[in-house]
Symmetry: C5
Subunit: 306 residues, 5 copies
């Protein structure tokens, strides 16, 4: 085992050997194996936004097999999806790429001001499907925060008892926040900290903006002149807020955007000390050859190649 992986696992010395082995599995898979960096392919957009919005841009993506094979071919560290998609491919892919079962899911047919995803599967499903981890989304800022945190707590306890790792998507949202506040630097750092305090092994947040949302926080950011001017600085602050860098924090790419902009964002994540990216729509919504090319470049960034 590479020293970097050993070091990272050292931060998780409170976990049982099963959980540590599954964290290691993700860190030792694919193009970035052993570097301590991760690029993960998530495909839950079919559930979250509907099938046409997700797969019409690249119709082979209607087929669940497409994505698992893409994750393998691209050399991703892991592949994350809801129950149905994982069930469709687990028998053939569980030993090819670490699988993350996304156990709760949000959809848009009923719009909630204070959203909460539905629990659609659980740790026992992850076990029977040979997964390495469960994934769970919380929405700090939603009136339903308590219900989500308490469900996460129950799922985490069960998953870790089975030796599964726990990946938390911590996405601020809901009537407690302005729209701009959802990606505000203070809010994103806070959301990452909450996930860490709740025992998440991997934390996924959105790249933060320089906006500071909370009045009480604003005073502190100004008084102590916390540097949040560049994305790299903000990434650094989020990583610091996650137990001083002792938790794996990765960042989502968000909506499809210009490749150059995307690569610049990835470099900032790398330069700020982020542990990697979870790249969905930018991967599977383009033809496979383009996707492989894109992912290869993304990984090269984390390898320090450009």
């Amino acid at each position: 085992m590479q020293q970097r992986v050993r070091d990272i696992l050292g931060w998780y010395d409170h976990e049982n050997p099963g959980v540590r082995a599954n964290i290691a599995r993700m860190l030792q898979t694919g193009q970035l194996a052993g570097t301590g960096k991760l690029v993960i392919l998530p495909v839950d957009q079919g559930f979250e936004h509907g099938p046409a919005r997700s797969f019409a841009p690249n119709p082979p993506g209607y087929d669940p097999e497409y994505h698992a094979q893409l994750a393998v071919d691209a050399g991703c560290n892991a592949y994350a999806a809801p129950l149905g998609f994982i069930e469709s491919i687990a028998a053939r892919y569980a030993s090819e790429v670490p699988l993350i079962l996304k156990i709760n899911n949000h959809e848009v047919l009923y719009d909630e001001k204070d959203p909460m995803p539905a629990l659609t599967s659980g740790p026992r499903d992850a076990l029977r499907l040979g997964c390495a981890a469960i994934g769970y989304t919380i929405y700090p800022g939603s009136a339903n925060f308590r219900a989500m945190y308490e469900q996460l707590r129950a799922m985490t306890e069960e998953a870790k008892a089975y030796g599964l790792a726990v990946v938390v998507w911590s996405y601020p949202r809901g009537s407690g926040l302005s729209k701009e506040g959802e990606t505000a630097i203070d809010v994103v750092a806070y959301a990452a900290h909450i996930a860490a305090q709740m025992g998440a092994n991997l934390i996924k947040v959105k790249p933060p903006t320089a906006h500071v949302e909370l009045a009480e926080a604003k005073k502190v950011y100004e008084k102590y002149k916390i540097p949040v001017g560049t994305l790299a600085e903000r990434i650094q602050h989020v990583v610091q807020s996650s137990f001083n860098g002792k938790r794996i924090v990765i960042f989502s790419g968000g909506a499809a955007k210009d490749d150059a902009a995307m690569f610049e964002e990835l470099r900032a994540i790398r330069d700020g000390g982020g542990f990697g990216s979870i790249i969905g729509r930018n991967s599977f919504q383009r033809p496979k050859d383009k996707a492989l090319e894109f992912l290869a470049k993304a990984m090269d960034i984390y390898l320090g190649k450009f």
Copy 2:
């Protein structure tokens, strides 16, 4: 076992042998045995609309035995009904035709803007009554969506542990949608996708219209020129949205209508790649001889005879 059935079962290689055997039982029963197509008789209207509205048009239907015998005589793939109706006939029919226990039921004595059916039986009842599957209705678009999805998740886990198959009625409805939106193509395709992601073995939806309900979806349908002009095209889109055709999707006939119109609809379902129909009121609300004649023609359509 016919190759087509073997192929279909291949899509369910994540299920235990019990579940696969029960899916096979439905695919290998009746006039359409071995074709990969299904015509199922559902009789839950007594609960859903009241006994007179359901059975006054053909009074022998007040008797639960009538329907089970009709399913057998017509050569249906399965018979679906609520607990009481299944209990009334299980001792004599469980070995004659695969039974689907409809474990949740909606009624109209209290009208809800955001409906949720009541759970009226469960997997253990299905087991003791010799059923092949449970049936469960979700209403995507209802404010109660989360409660339904989470109850479905619990029922699915229990049912599959017993080797029972899971049939999901996915009927968009509730304050999240316009009336027209309930059968909009984007919404129906989305509803089928959600059911698939939640682990449904068979998915039942309504034949969609060409209306596109959601603004974000509309952009995509237009941009990618997704063909939804004919019913066959729309059926094809729904089937594609259900894991690229790797889940069994069947369609309901809806309210009684002109036979010619009904047969045209069935041909469109067939031509679009649908796996079959679930035909209730069009069957049991006419005299038995007429019902047998009607069902025979419906099956002939799926057999490609006209």
Copy 3:
């Protein structure tokens, strides 16, 4: 065992021997033993309306022993009451008359537009007290319908696992219905059907009026000219709606009324094919000798004597 009882038990061939034996116990007890008809004494009014309203008209009724002895002396098929009343007499009466533990109860100190009774005992209490059955009230038409149906489901499953029969009081009520609608023919028939679909062994409803409540139902009653002009016709329709007469449906007497009117009602129930009556206030709110006389006449009606 008399052939009529054997025939009735034949409709319950999905139940275990324990449940069937307890249904048989009720059918083979008292003056109507073996006829397939039942007259049951219920005394839950103390809980439902308060003690003075219930027992002041005949003060010996304050004593729980009075009612159990009345049921025995009158030759009733069973005696139904809440926990406290059953506990008070079970040690001496469980072997004298089948006891029905009424496990949920409504009261009037807090008035709810959408009522739901409180669960005050359960199947395990029924077992330890030597009862033949549990009794449970649902209020179709109440906003709480789902909670009641699901609680009934749980209680039914537990009770039948212990070999106890299940008696369901199905009383439409709540904001989904007009006051007149509570006893409308379409609503009462629907309520009986729902109870049957949920697995009730005995169903208790109120004698329906000729009013039709639901607009959709009205069309059907008119189109098919369903005869509901006389009480006997309406009883017949309710019995037909309960699995074509294959479930035991009995009728309550309601508030105390003129004896002649009461007897006429009983004759209509008998002539319409009803299985009997549950007679509370008309029994225990008059002196015991008068009550015995009244109940004897009621039974004579079911015996076809007048």
Copy 4:
């Protein structure tokens, strides 16, 4: 065992020997041992009203030991208090005086129109602390009535399985009632009846006034000329409403009042056939010597001495 105690236990022949032994323990303890009468010391006011309002009038009462010793020295039949107070003294007093663990408690820091106490301990606590009984408060008339009744049901089932007796404080309160209605004769009699129907072994209510709250009840009280003019008559009516006197019904003293008025009330309770009193603030809010004097006189009343 005295014949009176034996007679009373005869009313509880549905209970297991453990429960009966604990009822007997209370009836055979203290100055009133063997008379079938009880004077119980309850000290839950610290929780219900706050410490200063409860103990400032007699500061030794801040100490939990004070009350247990007072109950012993006065010869009370039992001592009732919340978890903390019982834990503080159980090791030394469980064998000196029967302890009643008051498992739910109300407080006034958050004021609810429709109150419900919080469950703060349970039957297992009562067991480990050597208690004879649990105590539980219901508020008939509160919108939360169902939640309280169902929690009481669960606690009763568990407590009796352990051989513990169940004491129910039945205090009408909430938006279903007027302020005057909380102590109306019809409402108090009804509240006692509900507690009896739910399986309470001892029932505690407030002394009722002559007011009749409920319109339907008023008609009956007038029609049958139920005597409620004197407190003794009202007590008699409450006792009759509690299974014709076959349940132990005791009365609270309420807020501290003039001793002469208090003694007159106690005589009325005795003369009306009440089984005793539960006297809190009138005991512990005066100096100990005065309290002992007061309680001795109260017991003398029940012994018929004046």
Copy 5:
């Protein structure tokens, strides 16, 4: 074991040896070992207020290890923190300083008028991490009081069964109280009493003001001339309200303030008979050498040195 510790443990003679041993562990650790006084370091502000507001003033505090080492170096009796922070250090510190797992946590991304913290870990986590106690916050005065009390009850029962001590943060808050009322003397004394009645081993409250919030309480404070003019008098009243001093009551320091003011407050706590302090922000938001100096002085106050 010192006599003072033995005396204190005597108040907890209802607890099992495991719980008593863990109370003793806290009393016998650090600079104040054996004195019956405690200074505890709590670091839950990252969760409660966000990471920047908590740790920017002294950035080494972003690292969970910093705080555990600070608690050891300062000679605190115990260190309290949420799950993530405890997990990060438990393997190295569980045998160095008693750990208190703060199992519920409040945050400010969604603001509630009637707050309730989320349960983020539990007694089983405390066990596996080698903790001495769980910590739980209740907000008396919140509309959610019942849910918190009942969750506390469940957690307490489980924790004590494992031999863990229970520390309750009792912080009045919510729509039942004015802002000033949150620290009113009557309310704080009441809050401490409630925690004691619920079985708390250690109780943490805020230093009260002389304001009296509740009208009924005001009459009593005036009538009995309860001295609440000085902080020491108020502390004394809170301690008396906690079972006459037979429960360990400690006080929080609140927001960072002038050191002189802080020391004066600590002296008042000591002089009023308080058992110690829980000092968070005043410790970890200054450089470590200053923090050690500050904590040493605080402990000297409890040792009576100045």
